[in-house]
């Protein structure tokens, strides 16, 4: 019960921290959306710092994906910085396939992630993030600049697992559901 309340409270704090960055989109340099430069970790409880770092990794992954998607660059180093394991496999496979098909992705992706669980609570090494990924404006294009097709983007319920390995947080897996699921 205590733990539950704690997590809810934490999520509220984190939302505020992220709101301070003024971004619902990972457009631009991933580092620009990193709250770590704005909020010294010393002022946060260990679990709050973990939640913050997990969100930085999560947003970083999408920012790197969006950036790499502009040229379908499966080699983009930033992807490796924020994603690992199955999450990285999925994104790299996607980018490689898009390159193969002559497809690029452009536009802004809107995120609204919240940490729903941190474990273990004392010194968290795994965070669960719930998000509603809005790809209304993040669409696929042909190399010629035309839209790939006329199908719209949408809002996708997304859950992600972010893990801490060797001191750094990376998204290790995520499940992005179909359109209109949030």
């Amino acid at each position: 019960m205590n733990r539950h309340t704690g997590v809810v409270g934490l999520a509220g704090v984190l939302t505020l921290v992220l709101a301070a960055c003024g971004s619902g989109t990972p457009e631009g340099k991933p580092s620009a959306s990193a709250p770590s430069s704005l909020m010294p970790s010393a002022s946060l409880a260990p679990s709050a710092a973990a939640g913050r770092d997990a969100l930085v990794a999560y947003r970083g992954m999408w920012a790197a994906f969006v950036e790499a998607g502009k040229t379908s660059d499966a080699d983009a180093p930033d992807l490796r910085k924020y994603a690992s394991g199955n999450a990285l496999k999925l994104i790299v496979s996607s980018l490689y396939t898009n390159r193969d098909q002559g497809k690029v992705s452009k536009g802004a992706l809107m995120l609204d992630p919240k940490v729903t669980e941190l474990k273990p609570s004392e010194a968290p090494t795994e965070a669960t993030i719930l998000d509603c990924v809005d790809s209304t404006n993040w669409l696929e294009y042909k190399a010629s600049g035309e839209l790939w097709d006329d199908k719209p983007g949408g809002k996708h319920r997304t859950t992600a697992t972010v893990t801490r390995t060797d001191g750094s947080w990376t998204v290790s897996s995520f499940v992005l559901e179909g359109a209109a699921t949030c």
């Binding site: 199955n86 496979s93 996607s94 490689y96 097709d149 949408g154 992005l176």
Partner: protein
């Protein structure tokens, strides 16, 4: 056993079809399309374990070397329905999906879990869902252990390429021993190092020959300079003036190697080979190959020459 396997594949294919028929999860215009993976999805793109170590069985394209080809020479999916043998440059496998060889960067291979050991190859796999009229293919790069999932000239070409046995590079310099500043060093290699090689891979009815031809020799002189030559160079023979540059490939050091590590320059030559293939009425190129060799070279102080 075969029946059981076929049934499993059929179930998998039907499941894919069922999911793909729902408009939501596969909206292709949505850039998240290729990473959409509802829980339990069998979208091939979601099978992130496909093709990784110890798991390559997941991507078995049908337990046959004949790809999607039936005994009548037609290509069929696991249900027995005739399908095109080729789509968008890929060939039908026994699972009804299409395969073509993939040239992955090391960074991509690492992200996919690393290069599995043993025989096999990387392929770009695309599965189409024609039932709903979708022309969009799902897929991704996968490792296929053992024999290739399809037999096509281009796939055989990769096998043939892998069988190419390129010659060792044997470096021949003139002067043969120590080099002298301001005297041209003739750069050449034994003619055997620069000879086209061929290798063939075949299955009944299809034979493909890959041919490697040397096109370029890049000589890193060990002092930061590089000399690129279009041929193997010319070996010095009696009667030629060693004080003049070689007719086609030489380099002149201006400084001694005395201050280099160990007092020597390490000269490394890298030969670049272009690999082309032909067979079954088709032809093309596959990624090139290189061979290389190194030799330590001492460049003397010029004063020492004079006193000799």
């Amino acid at each position: 056993m075969l029946t059981m396997f076929r049934r499993l594949v059929l179930v998998a294919v039907l499941t894919v079809a069922a999911i793909a028929a729902v408009p939501g999860p596969v909206s292709a215009g949505d850039a998240t399309g290729s990473v959409q993976c509802p829980e339990g999805s069998t979208n091939p793109g979601c099978d992130v374990n496909a093709g990784t170590k110890g798991n390559s069985g997941n991507t078995n394209a049908g337990n046959t070397n004949k790809g999607g080809g039936g005994g009548d020479g037609k290509c069929r999916d696991p249900r027995g329905v005739e399908i095109p043998c080729q789509r968008d440059g890929s060939w039908a496998g026994g699972d009804g999906c299409y395969y073509k060889p993939a040239d992955l960067s090391q960074a991509v291979i690492d992200a996919l879990g690393g290069q599995p050991s043993g025989e096999g190859g990387w392929y770009q796999r695309t599965c189409y869902n024609d039932a709903s009229g979708a022309t969009e293919g799902f897929g991704g790069p996968v490792w296929i252990a053992g024999a290739p999932p399809v037999i096509s000239p281009a796939v055989l070409a990769r096998q043939a390429r892998a069988r190419l046995d390129l010659p060792k590079v044997i470096i021949e310099l003139n002067p043969p021993g120590k080099q002298l500043p301001n005297l041209p060093t003739w750069l050449s290699m034994d003619p055997s190092s620069w000879a086209a090689k061929s290798a063939t891979a075949s299955v009944p009815g299809v034979s493909v020959t890959a041919t490697a031809r040397p096109v370029r020799a890049s000589w890193a002189m060990g002092n930061g300079a590089t000399k690129v030559c279009a041929g193997p160079g010319t070996a010095w023979t009696l009667g030629m003036d060693p004080a003049r540059p070689s007719p086609d490939c030489s380099y002149t050091y201006t400084r001694s190697s005395a201050s280099a590590p160990g007092g020597v320059f390490t000269v490394t030559v890298t030969v670049t080979w272009e690999v082309t293939w032909a067979g079954a009425g088709e032809s093309g190129t596959v990624p090139g190959l290189t061979t290389t060799a190194s030799v330590p070279v001492t460049v003397q102080e010029s004063q020492a020459v004079v006193t000799n």
